[in-house]
C-alpha cells in the first residue's frame, strides 16, 4: 500500500493530509512536501493522519526532519493519530515536541 499525500499552504500554515502507509518506501515523499513547506517559510505544520494505517521508524525520521528544518519554535501538529501510530510517537519521545490532537474541524476543512 502506498502513501497518498496532499499539501495546502495558507497563512504560514502547511497542512498535509496523509493516507496509507508511512514507511521507508513512502517517507521520502513526505520529506519532499516538508521541504516545500520549509521553502514557503511556514511556522506551523499540520499533519492530518487519521488515514495513516502504518508508520515505521521512517515516519519518525520525517518528524525529526521537520523539527530540524522548520524554524525554531515552529509548531508541528498531528491530527487524528491512530492508536498504534500514536504509540510509536510516544515510544520515541516525540509526543513531547509535537501537538497531538484527536480531531480538529478547522484543520480538516483546510486540506
Amino acid at each position: 500500500m502506498t502513501l497518498d499525500a496532499k499539501m495546502h499552504i495558507d497563512e504560514g500554515t502547511a497542512t498535509i493530509r496523509l493516507s496509507g502507509e508511512l514507511d521507508g518506501r513512502s517517507a521520502p515523499r513526505l520529506n519532499l512536501l516538508i521541504s516545500d513547506a520549509v521553502a514557503a517559510q511556514v511556522r506551523r505544520l499540520v499533519l492530518l493522519v487519521s488515514d495513516v494505517t502504518y508508520m515505521s521508524s521512517a515516519g519518525i525520521r520525517c518528524l525529526l526532519f521537520a523539527h530540524q528544518k522548520l524554524p525554531r519554535g515552529a509548531e508541528i501538529v498531528l491530527v487524528g493519530t491512530r492508536q498504534e501510530v500514536a504509540e510509536t510517537i510516544r515510544m520515541t519521545g516525540f509526543d513531547r515536541t509535537v501537538v497531538m490532537q484527536e480531531s480538529v474541524e478547522r484543520e480538516s476543512a483546510e486540506a
Partner: protein, 142 residues
C-alpha cells in the same frame, strides 16, 4: 506447526514482501490486529536495519522463516552480516536529546523490540539470528 520461508535480497526493495509474509503468518495464527501490527513493524525494522547497517546498503541475503505453534507465532530472521545483537542497543541517550538536535537513526530497533512478547538474538553458524515472538491468546470457541 505451520511454517513458511522467504529469502530476500537486502539490496532490493523488500518491505512489501516482509509485510505480506508477516501479516499472512499473523492471520494464520489468528493474532489480534494490534499484535499483527507490532509483529510486522518489528520484522520491518529488523530487516531494514540489517540491509542498511548490517550490509551497509551493499546487498546480501536475509532469510525469514515463520511458524505458528499452539501458544505463539514466531518469525526468525537470519543474515550473514557482521555480528550484531539488537538487545544490546541502548536508545536512552538518543531519547534524552532535544529532537531538533537528535541523530537521524536508532529508532527502528527501539520500535522493533518495544512491543514483542519475546525477542531472542543468537549467533549461529556464523549468522545473526533474530527471533521475534507474539503469544497467541485463545479466542472464543478455541
Amino acid at each position: 506447526m505451520i511454517g513458511c520461508r522467504l529469502r530476500l535480497d537486502a539490496g532490493a526493495s523488500f518491505a512489501g514482501r516482509v509485510a505480506e509474509f508477516v501479516l499472512t503468518l499473523a492471520r494464520t495464527g489468528t493474532l489480534h490486529t494490534r499484535q499483527a501490527y507490532w509483529l510486522r513493524l518489528a520484522a520491518d525494522e529488523i530487516t531494514t536495519n540489517i540491509a542498511q547497517h548490517g550490509y551497509g546498503g551493499r546487498g546480501g541475503v536475509i532469510d525469514l522463516e515463520g511458524g505458528v505453534e499452539t501458544d505463539r507465532v514466531w518469525v526468525r530472521v537470519e543474515d550473514d552480516a557482521p555480528p550484531f545483537d539488537p538487545t544490546r542497543y541502548d536508545p536512552a541517550p538518543r531519547l534524552a536529546a532535544d529532537p531538533a538536535l537528535r541523530e537521524e537513526g536508532g529508532y527502528g530497533l527501539l520500535l522493533a523490540l518495544g512491543r514483542l512478547d519475546e525477542f531472542v538474538y543468537d549467533r549461529v553458524g556464523g549468522r545473526n539470528r533474530n527471533i521475534l515472538v507474539m503469544r497467541r491468546t485463545p479466542r472464543e470457541g478455541e
